[in-house]
Symmetry: C2
Subunit: 279 residues, 2 copies
């Protein structure tokens, strides 16, 4: 059985940076290190960090915080300002590409555009971005039609969305707005990871997408692969692999989301190699 592992699967620049920052911090500070929400959307990595003393909290007012880490998805300027006032140390691990998208949202607001944000309303990155885009922002998810718009519209998009979502929203917006300003804030890493996953999915009998079930971009990889390859599984760890999955399979493709650690992907490859010789 042939195994093809995506080169672009696994930690993206922003996630690697946030994890490195957090680990470095734990070398100096032994307790009271908290992330505001899980640092990344990967339960196994979050668990590992917990063993190093990094816990997650939803409450910036919690009395036991000594250092608060802002995760890759960022936070609203209001929460950030409030955290700064608390007296503990605030470490900003917001992905620089997310930060840039926040600045564009703010710029569009300042330039008096009606801001349209393409993304998942419940995703923390989008929720933080809303604050920068101002009160009149409209959020449109990948599956929603674009509502009636004003004549000057500014568009930004969640960094981990697919370009097709942006294209669809822009085309629909052209039916309303006379002036459109678009910042394509999809990060290159997302675009390249999706492109590679599609290519691999085309060439294999079985596609395994590794990463948090709560990770939007991992779920997206799995969904796109399902449209191309007949047999796709989204797993968090190697333990979920079932022997029967490999029946009749000659080629397996493996990729991971932006928040999937390399050691988990390696574990999946090892498990497959262990099962495969007998086939």
């Amino acid at each position: 059985m042939q195994i093809k592992v995506a080169k672009r699967g696994g930690f993206c620049f922003g996630v690697k940076r946030a994890v490195d920052m957090t680990r470095k911090l734990t070398e100096k500070v032994r307790d009271g290190v908290y992330t505001l929400g899980p640092l990344i959307h990967n339960p196994q990595m979050v668990e590992k960090l917990a063993l190093q003393g990094v816990n997650s909290t939803d409450d910036i007012h919690a009395s036991n915080i000594k250092v608060l880490i802002i995760r890759t998805h960022g936070v609203s300027s209001k929460i950030y300002a409030e955290a700064l006032k608390m007296g503990y140390k605030v470490v900003d691990a917001t992905c620089p590409f997310v930060k840039k998208a926040q600045q564009y949202a703010q710029l569009l607001k300042q330039e008096k555009y009606q801001v349209l944000l393409v993304g998942d309303k419940n995703h923390p990155e989008v929720q933080a971005m809303l604050d920068f885009a101002g009160d009149n922002v409209i959020t449109v998810s990948n599956s929603e039609p674009v509502p009636a718009l004003k004549s000057r519209v500014g568009i930004i998009i969640q960094t981990t969305q697919d370009i097709k979502a942006l294209e669809r929203v822009v085309c629909e917006s052209l039916g309303y707005a006379k002036e459109l300003k678009i910042y394509n804030t999809i990060c290159d890493s997302t675009a390249l990871r999706l492109r590679e996953a599609k290519k691999i999915a085309k060439a294999v009998d079985l596609m395994i997408v590794v990463g948090g079930k709560n990770s939007a971009n991992t779920t997206q990889l799995a969904n796109f692969s399902k449209g191309i390859c007949g047999k796709v599984y989204h797993i968090e760890t190697a333990d979920e692999i079932q022997d029967g999955w490999l029946d009749g399979v000659k080629k397996v493709g493996i990729t991971g989301g932006a928040s999937t650690p390399q050691w988990i992907i390696d574990g999946v490859v090892e498990k497959l190699q262990k099962i495969s010789p007998g086939r």
Copy 2:
């Protein structure tokens, strides 16, 4: 036989304004009235104006010009400035919507965007617009792929193009540019005329599109109708209608381009009514 005449076929706002301006002028000035190129893309109307003493010239330096009329498509700022220096009167009949598109082209240039102009390179409106967009402008016609672009791109479109052309170019541009500023300079009249023509073409057995063979927007109406109705003819006047066209036809649709005079459309309707009773 039923005849359905489009409400939106015929003179648009800009063409009506230019023809009215020219006619009013001929009431005061008896000779030396010239248009820079044919006033509109309709040979019959241009011929009629010639009978009223309005001739067309391609040479702004011609010695017999007393009044020079700039037609609806506009001219470059260079030609306009040169004409002003000639000492004769210059009457600017540029369509206000074209003028606005020229201003947007200039604005995008000033804001240092790489300007992408969607339209027909040989059309006078596009040729004039190029001057306002600056030296680095790229023109893309409806059938051409978008070439590699810089990271900041500004897009404008010939006022008589179809929204589908803009959508296609914008989607392709999103593959290159990180920041896109789009002015949808398609005039409402074009959009509504095309929409109505498509609706009529769907409901009839024969579609007759009336207007200059040199008129881009009339040709566009005919081409779009051909994709919907099985039998479509593009004619300039009623004389071209052949009896055989109506064989087996129960419903005829008629529309005209932005530069088609009402009297020509009326002539087509009369001719059809004359042929039809015997069928």
